[in-house]
């Protein structure tokens, strides 16, 4: 092997370690930690009780202070490992604390109160997953409704996107009509007009149509994606025109050609666009933030942002709900990541 291939192709375990090999593995492992670490820390934290979340330094595992039910006390008492004056240690339950002195009892002999300086005791801790972080928001807050809103927006927007984009792409790839390049130009022009540029008038248009504070107001402006039209058109151009001629000779109407020939043959590109659309719509933030002001219409993203904006953030619920919001995207990542990466690499699309 020559020096060039050594540089570019050397594997780990080749002849010795070039500095680039060291750097490669530094970058890969560092990248792994950087990219997944924060998300893993989020999931990990989401299982901690509020007390454990407030702790510094943080622990890796979710600990809670162990408690025991002691005769004569209604609520469970927290357990501590106490170093007694004679040097021996014993597990005692705290009855009450006054200043630096805690009144404690031995669970075995509940009648006897022992006074302990809090410096001489350590809490007995056990691992416990605070599942309540996940259950509670669905029960006492409206998270189920937010989830339903998000699913509705994502599914509807994706279906309409696939339909309108594929129809437009069909027209633009398989028909010769006057003004076709003009239409293409308009679509390219819309690439230049991101949402933030037309925020105010778009909102007034939506309001004029009675769609403000409506999930349809969130859905409709998003469905005519130029990216989708371009991607599908590019794919449809590879379908031979003779197939369409053959279908015309076979007495198929243009509509039939669209849904019986073109759509099935475009399935791979449609699948990629569907995945993209699901991720886009699930993650949408600014536009729903503007359109939806009534709490019962919030999507998950808006709800999370609202709860995160409160002065007294309940991090234990917020973290758990962030994990819930992440789940669909993580599923897409685990199962369909390859479709997306090849889609982006192939089309170089945005």
């Amino acid at each position: 092997m020559s020096r060039v291939t050594e540089l570019i192709f050397r594997r780990r375990g080749g002849r010795g370690w070039h500095w680039t090999d060291v750097f490669t593995w530094f970058w890969l492992i560092g990248g792994f930690v950087m990219m997944f670490g924060p998300a893993i820390w989020l999931v990990n934290s989401s299982f901690k009780s509020p007390a454990a979340l407030a702790e510094f330094p943080p622990t890796i595992l979710p600990y809670v202070t162990a408690a025991a039910t002691v005769e004569g006390h209604e609520r469970p008492l927290q357990l501590y490992e106490v170093t007694l004056p004679d040097g021996s240690t014993q597990v005692l339950a705290e009855v009450r604390r006054v200043g630096t002195v805690a009144q404690m009892v031995d669970p075995a002999t509940p009648g006897e109160i022992v006074r302990v300086n809090i410096r001489d005791r350590k809490p007995v801790r056990e691992v416990a997953f605070a599942v309540a972080n996940y259950v509670q928001p669905f029960l006492s807050f409206d998270f189920f409704r937010y989830l339903r809103n998000s699913v509705f927006v994502t599914v509807m927007a994706t279906i309409i996107t696939l339909l309108t984009n594929s129809m437009a792409a069909f027209a633009l790839s398989k028909y010769n009509f006057r003004g076709r390049s003009f239409v293409m130009l308009i679509i390219i022009a819309t690439l230049m007009v991101p949402l933030s540029v037309i925020l105010v008038p778009l909102y007034s248009a939506i309001t004029a149509m009675g769609l403000s504070n409506s999930l349809w107001g969130v859905i409709l402006p998003t469905v005519a994606t130029p990216t989708g039209v371009f991607m599908l058109r590019q794919y449809m151009l590879t379908i031979p025109d003779e197939l369409i001629d053959a279908a015309r000779m076979d007495k198929a109407s243009e509509w039939q050609i669209y849904w019986r020939i073109i759509l099935p043959l475009t399935a791979p590109a449609l699948a990629v666009l569907a995945i993209f659309s699901v991720v886009w719509r699930w993650n949408d933030f600014l536009w729903p933030l503007i359109v939806l002001t009534r709490r019962e219409l919030f999507t998950l993203q808006i709800a999370l942002n609202t709860y995160a904006g409160e002065t007294n953030i309940q991090w234990h619920f917020l973290l758990a709900m962030t994990v819930v919001t992440m789940i669909p995207v993580v599923l897409v990542f685990v199962f369909l990541q390859r479709f997306i990466t090849t889609g982006i690499a192939g089309a170089g699309l945005k």
Binding site: S2, R3, V4, L7, I8, F9, R11, T24, L28, G31, M35, A39, W41, P57, P58, T164, M167, A168, A171, Y175, R180, L191, M192, P194, S196, V197, I198, L199, V200, P201, L202, S204, A205, P221, A224, R248, E254, W255, Q256, A271, W282, N283, F285, I290, Q301, L304, N305, A308, G309, L318, L319, T322, T325, V329, V332, Q337, I340, T341, I344, G348
Partner: protein
């Protein structure tokens, strides 16, 4: 990561989803065939274009035109008909400054704060983003085992929503967060990341790079893999030094992709909003207040609501973006032509 099973899942769900769709399509055929008889084969193109172009027209083109008129009106009324015409007053207000570099000297000091913040963000973020994406792509382009796994690793955050990204990092960067714990363990002084101006800026840049770098690395990786291997073999036959191979072969051949990535990053950086808004809310003070947030707040959120002013600011931002996009399309076209030749 297996690919076959999700494909099967996809086709399975596809079949179930298609049943009602097929029924609707069948029911649509008679009226549409009648339409075809009236309008002719080519006339059907108009029908297929209609839904998409209607949505484009109503939700993109129309607002775009309205926006220009809107920016010349004043007051707080939402509908154009209820607004008073003020001519260029909103623009005059935006540009009313003793010195443009000093926002405090401007009537609309928040606008100029946002402009200069955005400019700073764009410059720093674009440089770091392109460098990190390029290094990642070069690393991924080496003959790695399980390359698709490593590629996926860097791509993961791209899929996360900005809200999730913002919250993940708020949790890590908070006063008692993981990062400060790390510093504490190393014996360093903990930093109040999101409360100190410069650190908040660094966090905004870092988090936005974290969230998007995988996407750009992917584009650059595709570019690297499109470089013919025989060029490297030829260079090897000529005994070219590795560094020279990088500077004289890899980089020039990657240049078109690099340029596309650069402009894409620029366009996105100018519009930065979502994840930074969730992360810092524009704070501390106005340290991470960027243009889109300014437009959003003046247009909708703040008690000083002035939609016409927001509209004027958005048109100025739009002008910058149009220039950048035209540049991008120009590059894309040139690359395409080069590909054909």
């Amino acid at each position: 990561m297996t690919v076959s099973s999700p494909r099967r899942v996809l086709s399975g769900t596809g079949a179930i989803l298609m049943a009602p769709v097929a029924l609707v399509a069948r029911l649509l055929d008679p009226p549409l065939s009648a339409l075809q008889r009236v309008g002719g084969t080519n006339g059907m193109a108009a029908f297929f274009l209609l839904p998409n172009m209607a949505v484009f027209g109503i939700f993109v083109l129309l607002p775009l035109v309205i926006n220009i008129i809107y920016s010349m009106t004043g007051g707080t009324a939402l509908f154009l008909a209820d607004r008073t015409f003020v001519g260029a007053a909103q623009y005059q207000r935006l540009f009313d400054c003793r010195s443009y570099v000093d926002p405090k000297s401007c009537t609309e000091d928040l606008f100029w704060t946002a402009v200069w913040n955005t400019a700073g963000f764009v410059v720093v973020q674009v440089v770091f983003m392109v460098v990190v994406a390029l290094v990642t792509a070069l690393v991924l382009n080496r003959d790695l085992r399980a390359r698709s796994f490593w590629r996926a690793v860097f791509f993961f955050p791209v899929l996360l929503s900005p809200v999730v990204v913002g919250l993940i990092w708020r949790w890590i960067l908070q006063r008692q967060g993981l990062l400060n714990f790390g510093l504490y363990e190393l014996g360093l002084t903990p930093v109040n990341w999101l409360v100190e101006r410069n650190w908040a800026f660094a966090a905004a840049v870092g988090v936005s790079i974290w969230a998007h770098v995988g996407f750009y690395a992917l584009i650059l990786l595709a570019g690297l893999q499109a470089i013919p291997k025989d060029l490297y073999e030829a260079a090897e036959m000529d005994g070219t030094r590795p560094a020279r191979v990088f500077w004289r072969i890899t980089l020039p051949l990657l240049a078109p992709n690099l340029l596309v990535v650069l402009v894409l990053v620029l366009i996105r950086a100018v519009q930065i909003f979502d994840e930074v808004y969730v992360l810092t809310g524009g704070g501390p003070g106005t340290a991470t207040l960027y243009l889109t947030q300014y437009i959003y707040e003046v247009g909708f959120a703040s008690f000083l609501r002035n939609p016409g002013l927001a509209s004027a600011a958005s048109i100025l931002m739009g002008a910058v973006l149009i220039v950048l996009t035209l540049f991008q399309l120009g590059i894309a076209r040139r690359n395409e032509m080069r590909g054909k030749r």
